[in-house]
């Protein structure tokens, strides 16, 4: 075999390097024999052309693996792109996209609401948020005002982004809103962690007490939650003689935990609408035989208490 033939074969082998070894070896041996027919020619390139071209032609005609692996990646990417383009061009996709674009203004309003909801506290003690107007600083009006500021801002920003300006700010606002979309349900689930309240009527505090106006009753209403924590619900200060303190089932959210006593006292609603003022603090240890029946959430029981006993009542809960 001449030098040039060996070089020619080597060049072809390089082109076919991706083939499995035994296939490649066999093919090249065969080719060597084939090329020996041309030994009379000095220059194989003149007779057969560039070895790289020869190899590709051979690959094509022999039906070998179409392209080396690097090109396969390119081919895959191209095919993926082609598929995506085909979907994009399809009628249903365009319909979906058009519809989604129509919904965009609604999203601007929603994200504004979500942001206001994020800073609101919701109904006292709950993990949820008031709807439709979130309460901010425990005030519905403040929440409304917040909405009236944030919603137009969000809408205007959205419109500007559509016009090409302030796109970054718009994206940030969307992400912010989307974040609370996720966070809010999560915080609402904390309700399940809230302790269930037992019917205070079954606690130590009896249903009746008679007291003089201004006198602190010895009959304190203690409630126990399902976890066994006890809370002093009220120390009723009746204003009228003979006022009866009957059972009170406390609305769930108003736990009257001790830390609340530092702030304005939270007023609770009873069944007849009369507020009970929560002025006590957490009981030291369970000296009560707190029953373990768990009441359903958010039911209000019957109680009559002074509606305006003292300055300790601040705002009603609803």
């Amino acid at each position: 075999m001449t030098l040039s033939t060996q070089w020619y074969l080597d060049s072809i082998e390089r082109e076919l390097a991706d083939l499995p070894a035994d296939e490649r070896v066999e093919l090249l041996e065969d080719l060597a024999a084939h090329f020996s027919e041309f030994e009379s020619d000095d220059d194989l390139v003149a007779t057969l052309g560039d070895p790289g071209v020869y190899a590709r032609e051979l690959r094509d005609a022999a039906g070998l693996s179409a392209v080396p692996s690097l090109d396969t990646h390119v081919a895959l990417v191209d095919r993926a792109r082609a598929n995506i383009d085909a979907v994009r061009r399809s009628a249903w996709w365009r319909a979906v996209t058009a519809f989604t674009l129509e919904l965009r203004p609604a999203w601007w309003v929603l994200r504004a609401w979500l942001i206001v909801a994020a800073i609101s506290e919701g109904p006292p003690g709950s993990g949820g948020v008031d709807f439709p107007i979130p309460r901010v600083a425990d005030n519905t009006l403040v929440g409304l005002a917040a909405l009236m500021i944030v919603v137009p801002v969000s809408v205007v920003l959205g419109q500007q982004a559509r016009g090409g300006q302030r796109k970054g700010l718009n994206v940030a606002l969307t992400l912010f809103g989307a974040l609370f979309f996720v966070v809010l349900p999560a915080s609402a689930n904390n309700d399940s962690a809230a302790p269930a309240w037992v019917n205070p009527a079954t606690t130590r505090a009896g249903p009746s007490t008679v007291a003089r106006p201004g006198q602190v009753t010895s009959n304190e209403l203690w409630v126990a939650d399902s976890a066994g924590n006890t809370y002093l619900v009220s120390r009723v200060i009746p204003t009228a003689p003979g006022q009866v303190v009957s059972r009170a089932i406390i609305e769930l959210q108003a736990l009257c935990p001790s830390d609340l006593m530092k702030g304005p006292a939270r007023a609770l609603r009873t069944e007849d609408g009369a507020p009970i003022v929560c002025v006590g603090e957490r009981a030291p240890t369970p000296t009560l035989n707190a029953p373990t029946t768990t009441a359903a959430a958010t039911t209000t029981g019957v109680a009559t208490t002074s509606t305006a006993p003292s300055a300790t009542i601040t705002e009603p809960s609803r």
Binding site: A33, H34, A61
Partner: protein, 111 residues
Amino acid sequence: MDTTQLLKGVLDLAVLSVLSEEDGYGYDVVRRLRDGGLEDVGDASVYGTLRRLFQSGHLSSYVVPSEEGPHRKYYALNKSGRAQLALSRKTWRAFVESMSEIVDRSEGEVA
């Protein structure tokens, strides 16, 4: 019209036809095709086609020892190859007929 493109579609038929006349080895088949009028046929294409037809089971091969040079690998049609040839001939003839009709008709119109 680029004959290389045309050839690609029919090289199988050409190779099978040539081999049906007489068994041949690579260089020999190329020469016979060129002598038959396909001057542009590429060596690599014929060689690759021979390999593919062999791998598809249409050809058998045998080696003929030679004193002067390396042994030559001869290809021959087997039963499957003959069947394939018959089928391809039919397809080809039908194709040529349709093409001729279309081409002739258009020529007639222009004139």
